[in-house]
Symmetry: C2
């Protein structure tokens, strides 16, 4: 049996902490004078109370550290417990969402997916808009810490390739995980502030600037308007592109930068280079396509291509145009770039660039082995040979991801969703991108009209995708619970 | 430089042999008295002449064996050269197809894909119907031999796991590859004859019985009617199901059976068991779905579900109903089961059951390694540990397959095809299934209306898929040509 008390203790504390953050939207509602603030008071009290009680109840079982199985349980249960309480303001508040809708919205927020069941978002109380942004922002920093500190130790999805990186190259400067986490938080806050300032400069009001900065840096994608970034002009579009890109890079590089490691690791990181080559190539193709199809040679056409390609590939999920109207090439392209994703150790999700690098390195080694059976060919990453262990993890992740898209797609189709909605819905939830394809859940639609069953399937898919699939599969294996 | 002469010699001989087989449709046309026979005479003379000349020209370079690189070149060029000449009867004949359409039809035939650009097939001269069946039948036996004799030696796509099987367990009885090939041919002919006899018994005329037996056992799927098996009744449907299943099992098991090895290897083969569990489960689900949606409890509903599930999962591609009308669950399900496929060493294509078994074994080992980092967990297949080499090959194949679906899908979308047509077209061509999804290329449509560019993309995808992708990637790698 696993001693669940240390897990319960940490989760209790985190839930209580989430409750404390509810005072921010409470204040926002008070200042806006919209009378919605009691909802956040109720939610905060309930959340802090339950979280505190759970922590107290489990306190007697707290030990010095967590075992591997406890860490798994913690990581997964945190992303179940927080959405549960994060949904309270939606369920209790003026939006009067059902529990399903509230949980979907909170899960979508905390996993930084950004899919929404809300319409008329511009008319929501300020507190609720801020609450969506806060959940995404917390989810973003949470996942970077998990990806930098937990997953490499747990050897999930090949993230162990970054273990030596985080602990060795920074070893002398930053010996402890908590130290890494706190430095990453500093960077995260700094980039968010910079983003908010830039949004203000290009004309957003300060409330929009702050909330959108939070959902941008989290590559979350929740916006304060039904039209997403269609509500803004060229200035905010370009600012968003810059900060979506910054948010999709490995945060450890920023930490190295401010810790005196210089910009060289950042500039030499092959993951970053491949990521930018992909963004550049796809944007170029899409711009030419948009120009050819609609605008002719125009800045707006380039901007729409750049913005939406960056948004989908970083897994942010903002839209400033309904690219379902751009014709089949664009639609199919947006489907597949959503399956690429950003860099590991960022807020971006999906398969991620480094995994494709490793997979292609492995295919290359295979091909050489095939035509020269007596040679030894080892796949390399950043010049160093990749261990079989890492390669197997990455491949297991990739297969599990693709099979999950199939299983979730079939499950969604069973609820009556058509082919494009089911397939793209499965992919967008597992990759934590946000919008799907088709008229219903595409960039111009939202998830409100889906059945409750479909919403629960999608919410679970978001969780599974955010925790890199293998973490959840591990929890679900019966051997995990044995012994 | 690779000495291409031994390759040219074998290809010349095979082309000439293809030319000789053209006398069969010539005879069929003569007997039917439809006046179409000169087309086959012209085609046969041209094919035999060119093939013979190429063989003669290359004869001086023939050596005792082929190098690995020569074998790769041979395998790939054969599947390019044969469709080139196989297209002659379509281009020269009464159908007057363009070169693109003729090549597409011949490539679709010889790769056992079965996608067609022809309409009004029932009105075609008998010779052409027989020619389509002959190409599929030759393609089927060709690919079994390649899969059993060449691919394991070339270590493509993890097929080396069957190397010891074909050469060791049968080693004493069947020491040479040619012996294996000839025994497999005997089995192939026997099953085809049995299938034709059964089709006759349940009411097909002898011409239909023979041609459909050829396309059934090849899991090819070309039929003599636009309505495919919709033109037949319950008897032929059930016979087709039995023989599609038989054709999707590893032929080496039949060889063992007739070589005195008994039925035990067949019954104990885990690949076969998993395949039947999948067929059973999906058919059950689909039957319930069809009953619920349409017929209620009925034999016809069960038969339609069984027939089409078997047809798509074995990669045959016959249809006896327009399952695009069965609603989203059926459509999404048919998409994904086409990506499963039959057993290795059969005429079936796609990813194949044994690869999923190996991939899941690897994921299982990963999960155990994750929660017990100090244990050693080796993936097993049929109880034996799987070598890293095999596992890497299989994973490289899977990734290359999925990425190919993406690349071909985007390319098809560029030609203007919509999402479902582009994605399912890419998948059906690479998996050599035949029909795609959607109104255009779905079970009730055909490929005639696509642009020439789309047809060429699909024809190349069929070739790439039939040669297990990695074989073609190997040829395309620049290191292959160096040194
Ligand atoms: K997102
Ligand atoms: K087929």
């Amino acid at each position: 049996m696993i001693d669940a008390r240390p897990v319960g203790y940490v989760i209790g504390l985190l839930v209580a902490a989430l409750g404390v953050t509810m005072f921010a939207p409470l204040l926002a509602d008070l200042m806006a004078g919209n009378g919605h603030w009691p909802v956040f008071l109720e939610s905060a009290i309930l959340t802090i109370l339950v979280g505190g009680l759970v922590a107290l109840a489990c306190q007697n079982g707290v030990s010095a550290g967590l075992s591997i199985r406890q860490t798994f349980l913690l990581t997964t249960l945190v992303w179940l417990a927080l959405p549960l309480f994060g949904s309270l303001p939606f369920v209790l508040g003026g939006t009067n969402l059902t529990f399903t809708d509230g949980f979907f919205e909170a899960m979508s927020g905390l996993t930084t997916t950004g899919a929404t069941v809300l319409t008329g978002i511009e008319g929501l109380p300020e507190g609720l808009k801020l609450w969506r942004a806060i959940m995404q922002w917390l989810g973003g920093i949470g996942i970077i810490v998990v990806a930098m500190v937990f997953l490499p130790e747990l050897k999930v999805g090949g993230m162990q390739i970054f273990r030596s990186e985080a602990f060795d190259t920074m070893g002398k400067i930053l010996p402890r995980a908590a130290e890494i986490a706190s430095r990453i938080s500093v960077v995260y806050v700094a980039i968010t502030l910079a983003c908010a300032v830039c949004y203000s400069i290009v004309g957003m009001n300060s409330f929009d600037a702050i909330t959108h900065a939070m959902t941008t840096v989290a590559t979350g994608g929740m916006a304060n308007y039904d039209a997403s970034f269609g509500a803004f002009g060229a200035g905010p579009h370009y600012v968003a592109v810059v900060f979506m890109l910054l948010a999709a890079l490995p945060f450890v590089r920023y930490v190295q930068l401010i810790s005196g490691g210089g910009a060289v690791p950042l500039l030499r990181d092959s993951q970053i280079r491949v990521f930018f080559v992909l963004i550049f190539t796809v944007t170029l193709l899409m711009t030419l396509w948009v120009w050819r199809t609609f605008h002719g040679f125009s800045e707006a056409g380039f901007r729409e291509a750049l913005f939406n390609v960056t948004s989908i590939m970083t897994g942010t999920g903002y839209a400033n145009a309904d690219y379902m109207q751009w014709g089949p090439f664009a639609v199919v392209m947006f489907f597949f770039i959503g399956l690429i994703g950003g860099c590991a150790g960022s807020t971006a999700c999906s398969v991620k660039v480094f995994r494709y690098q490793l997979l292609f390195a492995s295919i290359k080694a295979q091909i050489r082995r095939i035509h020269s059976p007596h040679g030894m060919f080892t796949p390399r990453y950043e010049g160093r040979p990749v261990s079989e262990d890492v390669l197997n993890s990455v491949m297991a992740f990739f297969v599990a991801f693709m099979v999950s898209v199939g299983v979730v797609g079939v499950a969604l189709a069973l609820t009556g969703l058509d082919f494009i909605t089911a397939i793209s819905g499965a992919a967008t939830a597992l990759a934590n991108v946000g919008p799907g394809l088709g008229p219903e859940i595409g960039p111009a639609g939202n998830f409100a009209g889906l059945s409750d069953t479909a919403k629960w399937i999608l919410a679970i898919a978001m969780l599974v995708g955010r925790l890199e699939i293998m973490a959840v599969l591990t929890i679900l294996s019966w051997q995990f619970w044995r012994a």
